[in-house]
Structures are given as structure tokens and as C-alpha cells.
């Protein structure tokens, strides 16, 4: 058996060694003075990102005498492939920038450094960060792998002109109120809401928000709660906007997020809920430039006028990026020094000025609150809540989106079919529960 295992290990080494050596980005083990960082490619600011890489590397060389090389991934698949290859071969990037909702899954692999108190001190202490941003760093405050790096809270864009013309002074703070305003604003070729029902990523975020506001976090104590009545109601509300309320363009059944932003940018919709502030770049170049504002999304669940008992007034998921350090890294101390450098108020300000992503550094965030243009976004950041911290969460996300995808044909026919919705949710519930049960 041992011989077989050795043989298999050798075989695997051959298969993984090819892609690993092909990366050729300078292994960290090479000279011990090079740090590799894997980060998502910024498609909006590619040139600025290259410059930022160079600046960081130069500064770190000065501070610590070590070089930093950056590798980018273009998609979550790219990212996962890289993580898997590195985990198996025990070599690869020293630091990864991971999306917050992926952090629980990454944590469950046990491949990343669980920060000790001493290590936290080396990166300026937990106090350096906005308390909310630490909410998805680990299962509890003593087991954390993720160091908050950027924050992308969800807000809702609204067309000031359209609202003013309809005599609406500000966006509603309840989902029922928003539906009412959307109805009022629908007509003359315009729709109240721009919603991307065909998006492969976003739909679950609405369901999560409405559910947690009504007191159901979807997953708690290892139990999936996808068939909970408040979640069913969340789906009915979300799908109903198009099917029964008719406040969304029927073409939205095929829209991805970018098309919803485009529709809002063309002035064809009054509200654009659940977008990050990164839509600002697109909107400032669109027909609604100067005519739109951002507000936090409703925090009172459908069917209610105030937050119910047990409900959480979440405006956003704790969205953004966490930095994690690979356990296999031979340069963990050096990695901590780089993380320390990247999370200072000064570095975070440079990052915010370049890419428009909000800081996780408490000192800087508190300074930015004073900026009226950012008020809604900073407010949303402070009212963000983490998704359930569970290794099986990625399955839950996918299952939640799948319910929307499979409901789209009915949606296009103008109805929310409760029977098929319940069937889809029952199936999603059992799939998610199976994923939760597999947690080790």
C-alpha cells in the first residue's frame, strides 16, 4: 500500500509540477527574499494596478529589503485552480487576496495561517481594522485567517431626477416601500428597478439580505434553513418585482449585472439595488452622470414596517477582500511585514484614491465618513454583516442562485409559481444540508 501511495504521489508530483514550474514567477523558496502575492486582476484599472504593483514592490524593497511579485487571476476558477495547485505542491504564492465570502471555504481547507495574538500584533493589532470588517476573518475572534484588506459594501443607486419628478424625496427604507416607489416610477418606457435576474453571482445576495433582516441567517448551527417561510417570501418578493409587480424590464430575465448597470445608466430605471460603489466609474460616464445618488438598501424585510425581533438590519454583506497567508510559505514573517505595510492608513488611502475601494483601516475609514459623497457607502460598510462562517457556504450560494435560474422561465411567463418555488427550495435545502453535513 505504501509503495502504491509513493507511486501515486510521484505521479501526482509529475502532473502538478508542470503547471507549477510553468508559472515561473520566481518561487518564494528561491532566495527567501521574494514574496509572491496572488490578487484578482482589476479589469477597470489595469494600468493603475500595474503601477500599484511596482510601487508596493519598490516600497517593500526599501522597508524590508525584499522584492514583491504579483500574480493576478482573472476569474474565481483561475483563483481556485491556483490555490489547489499550490496546496498540493506546497509551493506558490505566500499571500492570497480572497473574496470575503470565499474565506470560510478557504479556512476549512486548513491551508492558511491561523493568526496568533503575536502575529496580529505584527500587523498592527486587530484594533487597526474596522470592527465590522473582521466579521468574516474566521469562525471566532481567536481563529482568524483573513486580514481585511478592502471593503466593497453594497449600496443602491437611484436616479435623483426621476424621483424628484415623481415627488419622492428619498429612497424607501423598507422593501415594501421600495416596491411601492418602484411602481410609482414605472411607466413611459421606464422601470422602477433594474435587476439582473440572469446573473450567475448576484441574485443570492438579495435573498440573503431579506432573510437575515427577517431573522433567518440561512445557515446556523450546521443546519440549513432555506425553506424557512421568510426565505420563501424573500424569493416571492425578488421574483415578484418582474412577474407580478411589473416594475422590472421583462428583458431582465437575461441580464447580467453589467446590463442592469447599463439600463440604469441609460436612464431606463429609477433604482439599481445591490451594486458596489465600483459602478460609479461606469455611471459617471453614462447618461445619468451627475443625476444619481447612492443610498443604503432597505433594511426592513418584506411584509414588515419595522425590523422584526431577531432581525438584523444588514445593509450589505461584509464584501471585499481578505489577505490570507499560506501555511506552506517559508516567508511568513516577511509576509506579515508586507500585510502590515498594506493595511496602514497611508497605504490604504493610496489604494482607495487609485481604485475607489473603501479601506478596512479604522482610522482612515473614520476620516472618510466626513465626505458627503461617500456617506451612504461608509454607512453601509458599518452596517455590513458576514455570511455564515461555514466551509459549506459556497454550496449554499450556488443553490440559492440556482433557485432563481430555474425560476426564470416561469418569471418570463409572468408568474411566481409557488409550487415549483417550494420544490426548488426543498431540493436546495437538502443539497445544502448535505454539504453542511460533510464539514469536517
Amino acid at each position: 500500500m505504501n509503495a502504491t501511495r509513493a507511486l501515486l504521489a510521484a505521479a501526482l508530483a509529475v502532473t502538478v509540477a508542470i503547471p507549477v514550474t510553468a508559472c515561473g514567477s520566481g518561487s518564494s523558496a528561491e532566495d527567501g527574499r521574494t514574496l509572491n502575492v496572488l490578487i484578482g486582476a482589476n479589469s477597470i484599472y489595469p494600468t493603475e494596478q500595474k503601477q500599484w504593483f511596482a510601487d508596493v514592490s519598490a516600497k517593500f524593497q526599501q522597508q524590508a529589503g525584499a522584492k514583491v511579485t504579483f500574480e493576478t487571476f482573472a476569474s474565481p476558477t483561475d483563483e481556485l485552480t491556483k490555490i489547489q495547485t499550490s496546496m498540493l505542491s506546497g509551493q506558490g504564492p505566500d499571500i492570497y487576496a480572497l473574496g470575503t465570502t470565499f474565506t470560510p471555504t478557504a479556512y476549512s481547507t486548513g491551508a492558511f495561517v491561523d493568526l496568533t495574538a503575536d502575529q496580529w500584533t505584527k500587523i498592527g493589532g486587530r484594533d487597526r481594522f474596522l470592527p465590522a470588517t473582521l466579521g468574516i476573518s474566521g469562525p471566532d475572534a481567536t481563529h482568524e485567517v483573513g486580514i481585511p484588506f478592502t471593503s466593497r459594501p453594497f449600496v443602491m443607486a437611484y436616479n435623483k431626477e426621476l424621483l424628484a419628478a415623481a415627488g419622492i424625496d428619498k429612497p424607501a427604507s423598507t422593501w415594501d416601500g421600495l416596491r411601492q416607489q418602484a411602481r410609482q416610477l414605472t411607466g413611459a418606457g421606464r422601470y422602477g428597478l433594474a435587476v439582473a435576474y440572469g446573473d450567475g453571482f448576484d441574485p443570492w445576495k438579495f435573498i440573503w439580505a431579506m432573510s437575515i433582516q427577517a431573522g433567518n441567517p440561512l445557515v446556523s448551527d450546521g443546519k440549513a434553513r432555506l425553506t424557512d417561510p421568510v426565505t420563501v417570501r424573500a424569493y416571492q418578493t425578488y421574483l415578484g418585482w418582474l412577474a407580478t409587480d411589473k416594475v422590472v424590464d421583462p428583458a431582465a430575465t437575461g441580464w447580467k449585472n453589467a446590463q442592469a448597470i447599463a439600463a440604469f445608466g441609460a436612464g431606463k430605471a429609477a433604482f439599481l439595488p445591490m451594486v458596489s460603489a465600483t459602478s460609479k466609474v461606469t455611471l459617471d460616464k453614462s447618461a445619468v452622470a451627475g443625476k444619481y445618488g447612492y443610498a443604503v438598501m432597505p433594511t426592513v424585510p418584506p411584509g414588515a414596517t419595522t425590523l422584526p425581533p431577531g432581525g438584523v438590519g444588514a445593509t450589505s454583506i461584509l464584501s471585499g477582500d481578505n489577505l490570507v497567508i499560506a501555511k506552506y510559505s517559508k516567508n511568513q514573517d516577511l509576509a506579515l511585514r508586507l500585510v502590515n505595510m498594506l493595511t496602514t492608513a497611508e497605504s490604504q488611502e493610496a489604494y482607495y484614491r487609485t481604485f475607489g475601494e473603501l479601506p478596512t483601516n479604522a482610522e482612515l475609514a473614520n476620516r472618510l465618513v466626513a465626505d458627503p459623497a461617500l456617506a451612504a457607502i461608509v454607512d453601509s460598510a458599518s452596517k455590513s454583516h458576514g455570511t455564515p462562517f461555514h466551509g459549506g457556504w459556497s454550496k449554499a450560494q450556488l443553490a440559492l442562485v440556482n433557485v432563481v435560474v430555474q425560476s426564470v422561465p416561469k418569471l418570463a411567463a409572468g408568474k411566481v409559481d409557488d409550487a415549483s418555488l417550494n420544490a426548488l427550495l426543498t431540493q436546495a435545502q437538502s443539497e445544502v444540508q448535505a454539504a453542511l453535513d460533510k464539514a469536517k
Binding site: A11, T109, G110
Partner: protein, 325 residues
Amino acid sequence: MTVTDPATADAPGTGDARRAGVARPSPPRRRRGATAGGAAVWLLAPGGLLTLTVIVVPFVVALVMSLLDLDQYTFRQWLSAPFVGVDNYVEAVGRTSLPHAIWVSGSAAVIATLLALPLGVAAALTTHLPFRGRSLIRSLYLIPYVLPAFVVGTIWRIILQPDGVANQGLATVGITGGLWLNGPKSYLALIVVQAWSGWPLVYLLALAGLQGIDDSLHEAAALDGAQWRAKLRHLILPLLRPPVALAAIISLLHMVNSFTLPFVLFGVPSPHDVEVLPVLTYVESFQNLRFGLSAAMAVISLVLILVPLLVYLRTVRLDEPEAAA
């Protein structure tokens, strides 16, 4: 494979690659001849090593993975992941939508191939004989073939979206197009797009077949007073059968295995009607992180692919003596 063996090059009857099959009656002697040279076998070593690295090793790894409970929790020490025997296979067949995905992939590939065949043959017939601008038409025909699947998927997604060109066109003739990228009609969309990107392969092979038909046969048919319809039916189409059959099998394999096109066209999670096998395997591995289960699915699809593949290999072997005869 035998034709690559230089040791047999001077053996009687094997000098001509096209006649490799003819020399089959005396394989044992040729084998001895090959090993007698000693060094000659080593010439195959690079190819053998490459085959081992590129095909055998990943296959063995996949096979082993499919027997383990390999997921994000166990991936780091995958050799010590719990051995679960055929559990992954049982789960794949019984508790996932694998059977449905096999049906979708298989049936759509068969229908799309059947659609692509007449299109490809007709296109080949139109560009067989010389005329002004023939090379331009030939180049145009190849456009769907040279476009990357990612581009094809993106273009068709734009065409087929609810307020896209397809529905606008249909609306002008009074037809409400509706949803093409989700719901029952998405299956139709998958077939149409696959056929669209697949017919140039049939066209290429059919054209090659047409060009290969000896002029004397055309002349003989003309002398016998055959009209074009009779010529087509009794001369051209029968002679086209081997290359077109080959095209059908290759395109079938290609369509069953197609990942990028459905992935880009419909996205993930896939609409139920177009949840194809490669996308399902991808989702289990890269989104649900069930590597063991996904490996089992991959092995099952490999076995399924083997059926047309074996037919293909047989066709390739049988073709040559037939063509030579």
C-alpha cells in the same frame, strides 16, 4: 502506430503508409524485426514517455481520486483522504443530475450532428466546382470553425437574449420569441449553436472527399448519360460516405465534450434543460469543491465517450483498405 516504426520501413509491403493495413497478416515477424534492432525500440521512448505523462498519469490520478472522499477538507493531504470505494459513482448516478446531464449532452450532440451533416455536405457541393470568388466563399464557410468557442458563445448569447436580435427579427414576422437562454427553448438554442459551429468540420471533410473523387469517374458517369441528380445519388454521395461518417463521429465527440460553448452561452448554475455533462463536472469540482465526486463523473463520461471513440478508431482503420480497394 505501426507506420511510425522505422524498423519496419524496409519490410515488404509497409513502405507505403496507405497500405499499412494490408501488411497485417504477418505481425509476429515484424514485431521480431523491430526488437531485433535493439536501439530502434528506444526511439519510441520519448513518445511513450509523453503518452505516459499526458494520458496515463492523469487518468490514473483521476481514477484514484474518484475512489476517495476528496473535498476541500481533505484536498491538502489527498492521499490520506478517506477511501470510499464506488460511493462517488453511486452518488453521481443516484443523487446528482448526472443521468439527466448525460441525456442532455448526448441527445443534443446527436441532433446537432444530424443537422450539421446536410449543411456541411451541401456547402461542400456548392464550392466543389471552380467559379469566380470560390476561395472567398470557402473562407467565409470556415468562419464558425475558426472562431474560438468563447467568442461563438458570447456572440450567440447577445443574439439570443430576450431583447436581442433574434427576438427582434422574429417579432417583425409576428412571432414572439421569448426566452432562448433558459427554459425549454434553451435546449433548442444549444442544438442550433452547436450545429452552427460544427458544420464547417463536416464541410471540410466532405470537400476533401469530393476533391478526392477521380475525374475519370465523373467522365464515365457523364458518358453513361447520368444527369447531376443521378450522379449525386449514385456516384458522389456513396463515395462521400466514409469522410462524412468520420466527420459525424468527430463532431459528435466534440459536441458531447463541449464545455466552453454551453458555459459561456448559459452560464452557471445551468438552466435545467441545458445542464450538460462537462459543465456539471466542472461545477462539482470548482464550485462545490467535491473533487472525488467530480472525478467519478469525469470517469463515467470518459467511458461514455469511449463508445463513439471506438467506432471512430474502427472507422479510421477500416476506411483505408476500403478507400484503396
